[in-house]
Structures are given as structure tokens and as C-alpha cells.
Symmetry: C2
Subunit: 115 residues, 2 copies
DNA sequence: GCCAGTACCTGGTCTGACAAGGTAGCGTGT
DNA sequence: ACACGCTACCTTGTCAGACCAGGTACTGGC
């Protein structure tokens, strides 16, 4: 349905963080700082500067929903959730990730199946 | 030892193909078209345009060795091999890849250990 | 000699990550 | 009430890496 039929792993490499964000939103809604904290802990990103533009992109593509919500202490937070399209994209990403992981694994184990 | 202490996964994402190339050179020497063939088969790259600049970079950093070699039929080929530094970088990459793989896996399995 | 095939390499363009900096709401202490 | 600091939001400019398209050269067959 989507006109931009991503080939596969070639594209995943780029949007790996995007994938992780969608995965994190799968279970429950989260706000930016929360995502930064998790992804930083895993050394997947380096700071906020990565997340906000990324979330804007996701929002623009309709892959996530967003809603302002009061904070118990501090300024309001924008909570992000997974949309229908987002779930769809996530599913595609997931299988791509499995393929990527498998490919890299095969290559690094290196048994020489190339003639 | 190296002055450019790569933080970790943040950098790996970018150089994933680079990592795969080094891994492929680990076992035996290969030439560009051979690498393209393998990596394309795995959907890790899209064409030659990715490999040649990458190999130049690796050569510039001294991570690979290169030597011209006659071809049984066709123009001469430039064969690339792994240098000492290359092997070192590969080792670092390998552990980084393991960490990245584990992190993404954890995140996608998503059990919510963030509260 | 010409043509096709293999192999090399080089621009120009785009996307995504990153660092740094800037705005604003909210709570606390005085 | 005001200032300060914290949390949370977002934007701008820079850079690296991947991609496409195009270009050169050597080889062998016709």
C-alpha cells in the first residue's frame, strides 16, 4: 500500500533508532526524555538531538500518535504512542531486523560459502 | 591506544558495512566485486557505489592491505586483505556488534524494565 | 578493429545522527 | 512576588555514510 517500498536491510541500517523507538512505544506510551534515557542507557543514541527530529519525522508520517499530558512535577509532557501504521511499520522492521541480524551473524562467522 | 576512542554502538550503526567488509576479509583476500556480490546477496548494500569509497577509507586508515593481482579472464583485480590494525578494529567491532544486537533484542522483546 | 564484459573509481545528492543552543512551564525558597 | 533551577520541549548547523549515475581501462572473442 505504501508507495515507498523499502528494499530491506539497506534501509534498516539507517533507521535502526527509529525502529527501536517504535518498539519501545509498542508496550506503552512514553515521552521523549524517557526514550532518551532508555536508548542512551543502551548506547544507541548520544543525546536529545537525535530523538526530537526523529519523533517529528514519525509524527509527520503518522506512525505515532501524540498527546500532551500533565506531569506530576514539571512542565507538561508530550506522550507518544504507536499508531496503526506504526504497528505495521514495526512489524516490517522487526522481520528486517531479524534478517539483518542473521546476515551479519553469518558473515562474521565466516565459513566461506562464496565459492 | 587509538586516539579515537569510539563510544560504542552509536558509531557502529554507521559503519556496519565497514564491519562486514572487514569480517569478510578475515578469512581470505577478496576483491571489490566479490565483496559487492556477497553483501548484495545479503541485502546489506545496494551497489558498487558503496564499496569503493568504503575501501578507500579503510585503505587510508591502514585497516586493510591491497595488492593487484592478475585475473584469469579480464582486467586485473585489486585484492584486499586484513591488516594488523584491521584485525584489531574487527575485534572491537565484533564485541560492539554483540552489544548492539543484544540491546536491540532486549528492546524489541520489551519487558519494560524502565520503571 | 570493434564490441561486450569485467573491474576499477569518482562526482553529486540525500538522509540520518550529532552537538549546541534556545524557549517555556513548574516548583521552591526567600 | 520574584528569582532560580529543573524538567521538558524543540531548532539549527555540521558531518558522515550510503546511494545513484556516470566514466575509464584492460581483456578476450568475433
Amino acid at each position: 500500500m505504501a508507495p515507498d517500498e523499502r528494499s530491506s536491510l539497506v534501509h534498516l541500517r539507517r533507521g535502526l533508532v527509529e525502529f527501536c523507538v517504535l518498539a519501545l512505544l509498542r508496550e506503552r506510551e512514553r515521552y521523549a526524555v524517557e526514550l532518551v534515557e532508555v536508548l542512551s542507557r543502551h548506547d544507541l543514541i548520544a543525546g536529545e538531538g537525535t530523538i526530537y527530529p526523529l519523533l517529528s519525522r514519525l509524527r509527520a508520517r503518522g506512525l505515532v500518535t501524540s498527546a500532551w499530558q500533565e506531569s506530576p512535577s514539571g512542565p507538561p509532557r508530550r506522550y507518544y504512542g504507536l499508531s496503526g501504521d506504526g504497528a505495521h511499520a514495526l512489524a516490517r522492521f522487526t522481520s528486517d531486523w531479524a534478517a539483518l541480524s542473521r546476515s551479519v551473524d553469518e558473515i562474521t562467522h565466516e565459513e566461506g560459502g562464496t565459492a
